[in-house]
C-alpha cells in the first residue's frame, strides 16, 4: 500500500506533457492547412522526385522518417543505391 501511495504522489503531472505535445502538433498542422504547405512534406516529395530522375526507386528500399519538433524538425531519407543504379534509369 505504501508503494502505491508513493507512486500516487511522486508521479509527474501529465497535463504539461499534453499541453506541450498539442502546441507542437497544432503549430505544424496549422501551417500545413493555412496555405503555407507542410515544408517537410514538400521536401520529402521533391527529394524523392530528384532521386527518381537518376535511378529507379524501389519503394521497398526507401525509408522516409520525419520527426516534427518545436524548434527543429528532422527528415531522414534512407535509400539503398545499387551499384548499377545509374544504368537502370530511363
Amino acid at each position: 500500500m505504501s508503494m502505491n501511495l508513493f507512486r500516487l504522489f511522486s508521479r509527474p503531472r501529465s497535463a504539461p506533457a499534453a499541453r506541450e505535445r498539442l502546441q507542437v502538433l497544432l503549430a505544424h498542422e496549422r501551417a500545413a492547412t493555412g496555405g503555407d504547405a507542410d515544408l517537410l512534406g514538400k521536401l520529402r516529395d521533391e527529394i524523392l522526385r530528384a532521386i527518381s530522375k537518376h535511378m529507379q526507386i524501389d519503394d521497398d528500399k526507401v525509408s522516409v522518417r520525419m520527426e516534427r519538433g518545436a524548434q527543429v524538425s528532422t527528415l531522414a531519407v534512407d535509400i539503398e543505391v545499387p551499384f548499377d543504379a545509374g544504368k537502370k534509369a530511363a
Partner: protein, 271 residues
C-alpha cells in the same frame, strides 16, 4: 493469416481510440505482431493517443492512392517493437477511402500481422462501414449510458448486415467492451448495471474498463494505458480483455465491487 478486429461504437467519445491503442499494445506486449489502423480520415487521433503524432510520414489515404508503399506508411512503436500504427489522413476527404483500396490494404496487413485492429470513426457513415467491412471479430465499445447503448445496438445491426461476413452468410463474432464504468455511481444506482447492458445488447462481455485518471494520464503523455501504467486498474482490465479475446475463459470482475472507499484508491497489484 492474422485476425481483423474492428473497434466500433456508433457514438463518439466512448473510448474507441483509447481502447484500440490499449488492446493493440497489450497484444503486442504479449509478443504478437500488431498493427492498429486509424479509419477516422480527417479527424485522426490514434497517432496522438499512441504518441506517434510527430512521426507521421504517410497515411492510409496515401497508400490507397498509390502515393506511398504500405511499409513506408507504417509507424513502428518506440516502446514495443511488435506494435505498429497506420495513421489516417488529416487533410484528405474520407471519400478517398475506396472499397477496393481498403480491401487491398487489409489483405496485405493480414498477411503480415497476427492482429489488425481497425479503429472505427464515430457514426455509421462510410468510414465506419469500411472499418468494419473486413472484420473477423467486432469489439463494441459501450458506456453504461442510454444513448451509447442505443447507438451500440444500431452498430450491432450493421455488423450483422453490412460486413463481408454477413454478406457471406457467416456469423460475426461480437464482444462488448464496457468502458468508463464508475463503481461509485453504480453503487448509488445512478448508472446502468452491467447486467442491464448485457441483457439489452445480448452479446458476450469482453471486459469492463473503469473510469480512471490513469486513462487520461496515458493520453496526455501519448502512451497506451497498458504501457503507461501496467499495474493500474484500467491496464489490468485491458490485459484481461486481451486474454479473453485469445479464447481464455476468465471471469469478468466488476471494478470496485466488494471494495470500500480505500480499495478504490489502492487497487490490487498487477498479476
Amino acid at each position: 493469416m492474422g485476425k481483423v478486429i474492428v473497434v466500433t461504437s456508433g457514438k463518439g467519445g466512448v473510448g474507441k481510440t483509447t481502447s484500440s491503442a490499449a488492446l493493440g499494445a497489450a497484444l503486442a506486449q504479449g509478443g504478437d505482431k500488431v498493427v492498429v489502423v486509424d479509419f477516422d480520415v480527417g479527424l485522426r487521433n490514434l497517432d496522438l493517443v499512441m504518441g506517434a503524432e510527430r512521426r507521421v510520414v504517410y497515411d492510409l489515404v496515401n497508400v490507397i492512392q498509390g502515393e506511398a508503399k504500405l511499409t513506408q506508411a507504417l509507424i513502428r512503436d518506440k516502446r514495443v517493437e511488435t506494435l505498429y500504427l497506420l495513421p489516417a489522413s488529416q487533410t484528405r476527404d474520407k471519400d478517398n477511402l475506396t472499397t477496393e483500396g481498403v480491401a487491398a490494404v487489409i489483405g496485405a496487413l493480414k498477411a503480415n500481422f497476427d492482429w489488425v485492429i481497425c479503429d472505427s470513426p464515430a457514426g455509421i457513415e462510410r468510414g465506419a462501414t469500411l472499418a468494419m467491412r473486413h472484420a473477423d471479430v467486432a469489439i463494441v465499445v459501450t458506456n453504461p449510458e442510454v444513448s451509447s447503448v442505443r447507438d451500440s445496438d444500431r452498430i450491432i445491426g450493421l455488423l450483422d448486415s453490412k460486413t463481408l461476413k454477413a454478406e457471406n452468410g457467416e456469423r460475426m463474432e461480437k464482444h462488448l467492451l464496457l468502458t468508463r464504468y464508475d463503481p461509485l455511481r453504480a453503487e448509488r444506482g445512478d448508472m446502468l448495471k452491467v447486467d442491464d447492458v448485457l441483457e439489452i445488447l445480448s452479446i458476450p462481455l469482453l471486459g469492463i474498463i473503469p473510469e480512471s485518471m490513469d486513462v487520461l494520464r496515458a493520453s496526455n503523455i501519448g502512451s497506451p494505458v497498458t504501457l503507461a501504467d501496467q499495474g493500474s486498474a484500467p491496464a489490468i482490465a485491458y490485459f484481461d480483455a486481451v486474454r479473453r479475446l485469445k479464447g481464455e475463459q476468465l471471469p469478468v470482475t466488476v471494478p470496485g465491487e466488494k471494495r470500500g472507499f480505500f480499495g478504490k484508491f489502492f487497487g490490487r497489484k498487477a498479476a
